[in-house]
Amino acid sequence: MVVVDIDFIHGDPLVRNMQDTVVIPDSPKINFADLRTQYPDAIRIGLTPVMGKTLYTVMTTEKRYLLDPQTGLTYSPLDEQSAREIAKYHFAGEAQITNVMLITSNPPMEIKTRRLPLWRVDFDDRFATSFYIDPFNGSLATRRHQYWRIFDFLWMLHIMDYEDRSDAHNRLLIAAQFTGLTFAISGLWLLFYSFSGRRKKLRLGTN
């Protein structure tokens, strides 16, 4: 786990266009005041870059929306074709997309804590990369690849939480650590004596 660079594990080299800036719409068809009238229970209204284009995002206490400032059309939830395009836009490799699926329930472990639904877009590269696209704000929610999955598996072994792979405070781990620590202390103790010339003392005993 310490040998492989954590940024690589996080999939940073697989992604491009993550620092797109927003362009403030000059004379949009709908403005923020309109959105507030349209969604009176909005808690957040924002501008977000999606594939180089600045779109509106709206978050209410229950729902989220993605809209076009110039047309006022609602894009969300994004369809498969849009998810493909967004994934390709962010993917730094050349590989083709092999599979696209919408995950609405029972998420795989690698996105267990993420808000659903998410589009999963799989690429045919040597890392078995998967991009997860949020259909309600068009963002690249996260990315996973084979080495992330291996790292996650090793992390599970490391913290001995075989169910959720996230709780490093479980009793099994603590019990194992106490045992391990006992052995380490006794090992260091024995090591001390294995250097202290015990054999020489024994030889003297024969005289």
Partner: protein, 342 residues
């Protein structure tokens, strides 16, 4: 081969044994400290700020703000903060708040920071001091921008870090976190930064530790003998070996039955055959050596090698206190043996 490996194993153990110990100790401490206390959530009040409906009659649209307010923004969000409608502007180098009513840049001053920290802290203590700072520092790793550090007088020495540009709570730090962080440093061996576990030192030591583990596992096979597993014989009755005692001086011999797996020295004693010894079977004096004839006499161990001359070892002399009863054997009693026949 095994001896050389043992020697290398020992020296490598000396070299990195302390770090292996520290890994286990720090891992244990990290697992034992309550994560809710480490995060400071234990003493944080629940907040509703995130779910406030945007509530303002007079709003400026983003296009009505001065251009420099939104320059290089990665995202712009209109929301309620500190009771006002604001734009939260995210940039690569941090975040800022712009009033959605008058386009002014919101700055969190010392008084604001005091109020915000007080609102968040639900623990048992009062504010003792407030100091400015710039993230990232030791306790605000991974964060950006200026902050106010608000120190509390509670037992856990809480420090709440308030962003000077957004008023957001950057971190809640306390003694639990600081202790955990110290052990985390020992765990990942990144002493100056405490965050990079891909450093060359830990990679080197980890590789050596893996070798140490593997070689130790390999050496295990050599350190166990068949005799170590004789304890399993408790499940089998009457598993005994016939030991023929030859007394050259008296010119006779007799046989005793000893339980397999038992210590030869002690087992003989229970049959009233008292082999001479000063240390009483401790492997210290070397007096209990006897000549053993046996089909597969085990090689001399370290203690026997040290206490019996090579010439005698080759003749079959062993220390009875270092021998386990494994098979039938012939034992040549020495003059010093006190054998009491009953």
């Amino acid at each position: 081969m095994t001896r050389t490996l043992k020697k290398i194993h020992k020296w490598v153990g000396l070299l990195i044994g302390v770090q292996v110990f520290l890994w286990l100790l720090s891992g244990l401490v990290i697992a034992l400290i309550d994560p809710v206390k480490v995060s400071g959530k234990q003493w944080a009040r629940p907040t509703t700020a995130e779910s406030q409906t945007i509530d303002s009659t007079r709003l400026l649209n983003p296009a009505q703000l001065p251009a420099e307010r939104l320059k290089n923004a990665l995202g712009v969000d209109l929301m309620m903060r500190h009771g006002k409608a604001v734009y939260l502007v995210k940039r690569a180098d941090g975040e800022s708040l712009v009033s959605a009513v008058d386009a002014s840049l919101i700055v969190i001053d010392k008084t604001d920071a005091e109020r915000l920290a007080q609102q968040d802290f639900g623990g048992d203590g009062v504010i003792v001091s407030i100091e400015p700072g710039m993230a990232p520092d030791k306790e605000t790793r991974g964060k950006k921008g200026a902050f106010w550090r608000v120190n509390f007088s509670d037992k856990a020495n809480t420090a709440i870090y308030i962003s000077a540009s957004t008023g957001a709570i950057l971190e809640r730090r306390n003694t639990y976190w600081r202790v955990r962080d110290f052990f985390w440093m020992l765990h990942i061996m990144d002493y100056p930064g405490r965050e990079n576990f891909n450093n060359p030192l830990i990679i080197t030591v980890a590789l050596i530790a893996i070798w140490l583990g593997l070689s130790g596992f390999g050496l295990l096979f050599g350190s166990f003998t068949r005799a170590d597993f004789f304890f399993l014989n408790v499940f089998r009755k009457n598993d005994e070996a016939v030991v023929t005692l030859v007394d050259k001086k008296a010119g006779d011999s007799r046989q005793v039955k000893l339980r397999k797996g038992s210590n030869l020295f002690l087992s003989l004693a229970t049959h009233n055959v008292n082999v001479a010894s000063i240390c009483g079977g401790g492997g210290e004096c070397g007096k209990c050596r006897l000549k053993i004839e046996c089909t597969d006499l085990p090689g001399a161990n370290d203690i026997e090698t040290a206490l019996i001359p090579k010439r005698l070892r080759e003749q079959g002399y062993r220390l009875t206190c270092q021998q386990l009863v494994e098979n039938d054997m012939v034992l040549h009693l020495a003059e010093s043996t006190h054998s009491n026949q009953q």
